[in-house]
Each structure stands twice: as structure tokens, then as C-alpha cells.
Symmetry: C2
Subunit: 448 residues, 2 copies
């Protein structure tokens, strides 16, 4: 990571000195991923200067690596002709990625300027819904008929000008149906006269164009795939998804889960301009305000008890806070389990009894500790007992709520990560205040 | 995922009926990943029965896919001879993965039973520290001297019996130093007489045996690699890491970040037995209890004010709760940014001013809303004002704490995800109670 910082500094220095030629030399040798990483830290007018010294192909590769808000800002500051020249050198699925981020008019203008055949390929890809295999796939792949020999297949690979992404040779039957694949090293090792049919792996894992990208990622993880073939409803081969694109999906999905659990939008980047994330942050803060007011209104019911015995107010937040950690722990494990495919209906009972066991045991341990602390602090045995009991009860509520709410959301096809602490801790806040203040109010004459 | 459930049910049915032969047929056709996924849900005596009907090679592949607690339990219930037969058929890096999870004596006993050469390879891998590239790499790869021709390289691949994992041909000089690589499709497309030197890609990204696995994952993500070569300090090629193993690392790291942010151990699985996770859960709950008592002690300072005006107790948790969501949102984005390599020292000021801007604006919006609610509820303008101001102040504290604490942890080489809500919300709880109750106490005579 230090290298990256040094590279960025070097770019800034050359820009400040107006030495565009030296800059062009430096950038020509750099990996597009490094250039795009450095570009993010520059003001947009400098981004434009960097973009203009790159060769069209290199510029295209850099564009493909940029984060969406940076991409939009940069493309907005460039001429259409410059952008379309860069896009022309990119594979269609990457052009589609760039174009979909732009305002509609701009996108159409750019496609009009591109080579017709390429523009059509891009249009076709853009027709698949975002987040599906169709949108992720590249229409460039190598496939041969199962009747071909190894020698013929090799001849075919030589002529097909596929990019660096081909690691498997796909095998199709006379109707272009996918029937298997051959890893390239096996093709190399085979005798040239062997028919492909004899060395192909059968039962290839494939997805259809409308398979969700999360499902694609799960297949890649489970079966250790390098490339996933994409077929239509008739198993006709249409494209292939490379593992590098699947890794990007995994990264996005992990970011989404982490951020949603933390009450953030799901695709926020640390460098996003604050105005761009203001609305999403505010929504969660307002929802949180709503749930906090709800919890406060429960306390309001017991205002008279607090007036009589202000010590109750001192201990109140402890019960709420412990319920909070309880639900957060449980929900975190359950939400992650759902994402990894481990948390299925058939194990629900087992998970629920695990969480109840943990709620009871850790609740008892914590309840004992807090009762001792409360007794040492205020000298009231009954109050200490009520506090300890309320805490155990709240930990059990946390176990149930933390397990069932994410499962229920999943059942309603809502992202379970939305069950962020904001939502679920409302339950434990309300239950905690109710049990603690309620018990105390019932027994208040013994507490005075 | 439904298919998986049906497959598991079929296994259970055949086990219940004692039909081991039919079971063997069913399993022989199944992917090891599917078998290992189904096995997890069975009691250990049934796991043993399933294991025993598998061929040694299939059994090895299934073992390699199992989660650690399940693996330990299953291996503990099998004979050493059975396990070593399965291990014999696995590549050395996978044997190392299995063996390292077992108690020391058991591991040594198993290695003694294995073929000597294989056992030595495994021992060598086990000497690298867990979590480094050395432990992830496979010693099986194909490499040729840069002087060789394409024809010779192809001949070499034919003879080398490498597994399905070879996608690149590595190129070394006379001293076995890594000097480049050739993707196999390029090798296929090249003229047989071409020297490898002429078609190799130079400047290959490599790692050393002690590179941290997170760094390996970052390289794979940034440069879209399929395989990462591992070299020693002299750039001599020692092994290669496949993208499938890197994906497992990414998944583990994402789970760790998500769980640590939620105050859970970092490697908990929904199906772990409760006793196994009790200690880790309890530690976080006890830490949380400690911070909650700290917050309570701040309230304790103002007990007299609450006695005088119990309404204060009603609004107290709102300030704390809003501080909680504020720090959680900020810390979540920052921790994820650190994991993705976006949050570097050079952008700290930009991120901090973004968070302060968001804290001020959303704080003002929320402060206004809560002031209006409080005034409508209790009819006290001054109290409403104090509440609103305390909330704005707390949101600013949240912005600073949520940004700086993860960065500070990172600087001290502690996982920033440890900055889970448990730790950081203590700051906003304490500051929130102080500002709200402090202001109210100062102005209490105007509130009555």
C-alpha cells in the first residue's frame, strides 16, 4: 500500500510541474488498477489531465476500474469523442458497466459514436437486468463441437482472438447446447487426434442469464470455479463469467452486508462526497430516532416510579445496552450464516436452541455480575435482584429476536442485513425497559 | 439451495433404511462440496457411515471441504488408517489444512502413516505461519526456462502431472528466478518454434512466503489474478496460490469483519455447538457490561437532577441511542474502507471533514425533529432546546470517534473491526449523558 501512496505522489508532482510528457511515460508502464486508484484522490480537472495522456486502450482499462461516483464525474468533464475512443477498445461487458452509470442522454450519445457492431453487443447486454448473470457475462468465449478433435480445437483457439480471460474450452453439441468443458492444460496434454468428446468433463455447472449474481458467487465459492458458463433456457451457450468479475460481486455483497448491519446505505465508499450519502445516512438516523422515541415512551409510562426512585434511571440503560449486544451478536451470526448459505430452514430449530442456551447462560453470568455491582453501589438487595432478572429476561428476548427477525425478513425476500441493530434493538430496548421498570414499579413499596 | 436440501434428505433416508449400497451410488456421483455440506447436518455416527462408503479420493475431497469443528469431530471418530488413506489422495496443501486442525498427537500419528515423500511436503508447508502465502500455496505448478521453445513447454506440461489448478505457465531464468508467465491460451495460440521469452508477460505480480493472506487477496482483487506465484527472498519460485483458495480467504476475512463489528468472535458458524462459542460471546457481553456501568455511573452523577425532574430520564436514552447510530454508521464505513484499501492516511482529513459535515447536518435535522417532538410531548421549550443541542453535539462526537478509533487501532496493528459498537458507543453514551444531563442540571431552575 505504501507503493500506491508513492505512485500517487509522483503523479501529483508531475501534474503540478506541468510535465505531461514525463507523466505519460510514468503512466504507460503502470497497471490500469493502480492508475484508477491514484486518480480517485485527484481533483476532477487533474483527473482529466491524467486521462488525456493515456493511450485509448489504457484509458478504457482505467475507466473500467473506477468507482461509480468518480467515473460519473470524470466522464462528465470529458468530450464524448474522447470517451468513445476509450470505450471502443474495451470488451463489451465493460463498456456496459461504464455506460449504465451515466445519465441516459450521455450514454446514448456515446453508443452512437461507437462502432456499430460493438454498440449492438453492448445494447444486448444492457437489456439484462442489473445484478443478473446476463449482465456479468462476457460474450467472448471459446467453444467447439464435441465431434471435433483436439487438433481442431487448438486450431480454433488460435484463430479465435479471445482475450486473456479464456481458461476453459467449452464443448457444445450440434444444437449449440453446452455439454461439457475442457481445461486448457488438459487440452495441451492430450493427443491431437483424440476427439474432444473423450476428454471433456461432463456435468458442467452453468447458470442462466437471469440467475442472481449472488447465486453465481455461491456456485463459484462452493465448486471452486474459474469461469461460469451462461446459457439460455434451452442450455444454449451465450457467454461466460470470469472469476475476477465474481470476486467483485463478492466484495460488493460483503460491503453491502457489513454496511447494512451498521445502518449505512450498502454501497458507500469512504471517499464519496458527503452530499451524495446525506440522504441515506439521514434516513437511518431518522428511523433510529423513531425507535428511540418509542423506547422513551415506554420509560414515560414509568415516570412516576422514577420520580419516586431516581436510582432506577441510573440502571435503566444497562438493561437496554445488554439487550443491544445480545441481539446484535445473534443477528450478526445469523445474517452472515444466511449469506454463506449455512442458515437454512432445516437448521432453524438447532440455531434457535443454541441462541437460547447462550442467552440463558451468558444472561445468568451477566445478571449475577450486575446484581453484585448494583448491590455494592446502592446497597439495595431487591433492586439488585430485579436488575439481574430483567437482564436475563432481556437476553432471552435478544436470542429469539436476533434469530427470527433476519429469517423472517429473508422469507419476505427482504435483505436480512436490514435487520441492523437499528431495527432489532428496538425490541430489546422496549422489553428491557418494560421488565425492569415494570418489576420495580410492582415492588416499589419494598424498594423505598 | 433447494436441491441441497433434497440431497440431504435423500442421504438421511438411505441412512435410516440402512441401505449403504444405494447410498454409495448416490454419493459417488455427487460433488464433494455437496457431500460435505450435507454431512454437517448429520449426527457424528451418521457422518462416519457416510465417510465409510466414499472412495478414498472422494473422502479426501470431502474432508478438505468441511468446516473445522465438524472436521475435528468426524476425524476423532474414525480410525487413523481410514483417515490416512483419504489424506494420501489429497494434494499436500489440503492435507496441511486438515492436519493443522487436529490435536498434535493425532496429527503426528496420521503423518506417520502417510507416504514418506508426501508427509515431508506437508511438514514443510506446516512450517509456514498460518495466514501467510506459504501456508496457502500449492507446491504443484508448471514452470519452464525462458530459453525453452513453445513446443518444449507443451512437452513439459504433458509430462508434468499437475492437477486441475494450472492456468499459467511460469517462466524462470537459469537461477530459477521468476521472470514472467504465459497464459495457457497464449501458449496454445503460439507457433511451436517461438521461444517462450518472446511471448511471456513480464513484471508478474508475486508474493513471498511470509506475505499476509489479506495482502494476497488484495492483489488478486486489484489485478484480477487467477493464480499468484509465491517466491522466496531471492525471487526463486516455490509455489502458486489458486484463486479458489484466495476466495476462501476473502470469505473468512469478510466474516471476521462482519462478526467483529457485531461483537462476535470472528469465525463463528451458525451451527457451532453453543459450548464452543460461549466464552467468546461472554467476553464481549462482559466488556459491554463494563462500558454500560461506566455510562450508568455518569447518570449517577446527576441522580439528584433526575429526582427533581424525572422527565430527564425519559429523554436520556434518545441522546445515547442517536450517538450509537452515528458512531456505528461512521465506523462501519471506515472499517470497511480500511479492509478494501481505500482508507489510507492521505485521505484521513477528507474523510474526517465528510463525517463532521454529515454529523452536523443530520444532527441538526434530527435535533430539530426531536426538539419538536419533546416540546409537543412535555410542553417545555427549554428542555426541548437542550435535548436538540445535546443531540447535535453527540453527532459531532460520533463523527470524530467513529473515524479516529478504527484508524488508531489500525496504527497499533489491532484489527479495526474490533472497534465494534461495543467499544466506540461508550464514548457517545458518556458524552451524550454528560451534555444532556449536564446542561439540564445547569439550567434546572428554569426547567421546573
Amino acid at each position: 500500500m505504501e507503493e500506491t501512496a508513492r505512485f500517487t505522489d509522483a503523479i501529483k508532482e508531475l501534474l503540478d510541474g506541468g510535465r505531461e510528457e514525463r507523466l505519460a511515460d510514468l503512466l504507460a508502464e503502470a497497471h490500469p488498477a493502480d492508475v484508477s486508484h491514484a486518480i480517485r484522490e485527484l481533483p476532477v480537472e487533474d483527473q482529466v489531465r491524467v486521462f488525456r495522456v493515456l493511450s485509448p486502450q489504457h484509458a478504457g482499462e482505467v475507466l473500467a476500474e473506477l468507482d461509480d461516483p468518480v467515473l460519473r464525474e470524470l466522464v462528465g468533464s470529458l468530450d464524448e469523442a474522447e470517451v468513445s475512443r476509450a470505450l471502443d477498445s474495451m470488451p463489451p461487458e465493460e463498456v456496459a458497466d461504464v455506460v449504465e452509470e451515466l445519465p441516459k442522454e450521455r450514454a446514448e450519445g456515446l453508443l452512437d459514436l461507437m462502432a456499430e457492431e460493438k454498440a449492438e453487443e453492448v445494447q444486448e447486454l444492457l437489456e439484462y437486468r442489473e445484478g443478473t448473470a446476463g449482465r456479468l457475462m462476457s460474450p467472448d468465449f471459446v467453444a467447439v463441437n464435441e465431434q471435433a478433435t483436439v487438433a481442431k480445437a487448438i486450431e480454433h483457439i488460435r484463430r479465435a482472438k479471445t482475450g486473456e480471460g479464456a481458461f476453459y474450452l467449452y464443448v457444445v453439441d450440434d444444437h449449440d447446447h453446452l455439454v461439457g468443458f475442457v481445461p486448457l492444460h488438459r487440452l495441451i496434454a492430450a493427443d491431437p487426434a483424440t476427439p474432444i468428446r473423450a476428454i471433456r468433463t461432463e456435468g458442467v455447472e452453468s447458470v442462466t442469464v437471469d440467475t442472481d449474481q449472488e447465486e453465481v458467487a455461491r456456485l463459484v465459492q462452493r465448486y471452486n470455479l474459474i469461469q461460469v458458463p451462461v446459457v439460455d433456457v434451452n442450455r444454449r451457450l451465450l457467454g461466460a463469467i470470469g472469476v475476477d468479475d465474481v470476486i467483485d460481486v463478492m466484495r460488493e455483497e460483503a460491503t453491502e452486508d457489513i454496511q447494512r448491519l451498521g445502518g449505512v446505505g450498502g454501497d458507500e465508499n469512504v471517499l464519496d462526497p458527503p452530499q451524495a450519502v446525506f440522504a441515506k445516512r439521514l434516513v437511518w438516523r431518522l428511523i433510529n430516532l423513531g425507535t428511540a422515541v418509542l423506547a422513551a415512551s415506554v420509560i414515560g409510562l414509568f415516570e412516576k416510579s422514577i420520580q419516586t426512585l431516581a436510582t432506577l434511571a441510573v440502571f435503566m440503560p444497562i438493561v437496554a445496552s445488554m439487550g443491544g449486544i445480545g441481539t446484535t451478536q445473534t443477528a450478526t451470526v445469523v445474517v452472515r450464516g444466511i449469506a454463506l448459505g449455512d442458515m437454512t430452514g432445516s437448521v432453524l430449530r438447532r440455531v434457535l436452541s443454541k441462541e437460547l442456551w447462550l442467552g440463558l447462560t451468558t444472561g445468568a453470568a451477566n445478571g449475577l455480575v450486575i446484581a453484585v455491582i448494583a448491590y455494592a453501589w446502592k446497597g439495595q438487595a431487591l433492586l439488585a435482584l430485579i436488575l439481574g432478572l430483567a437482564l436475563v429476561f432481556n437476553m432471552l428476548v435478544a436470542a429469539v429476536v436476533g434469530t427470527l427477525i433476519p429469517i423472517a425478513l429473508k422469507a419476505f425476500r427482504i435483505d436480512p442485513a436490514i435487520a441492523s441493530s437499528v431495527i432489532i434493538t428496538t425490541f430489546t430496548d422496549v422489553c428491557g425497559f418494560f421488565s425492569f421498570l415494570g418489576l420495580a414499579t410492582l415492588l416499589i413499596k419494598f424498594l423505598l
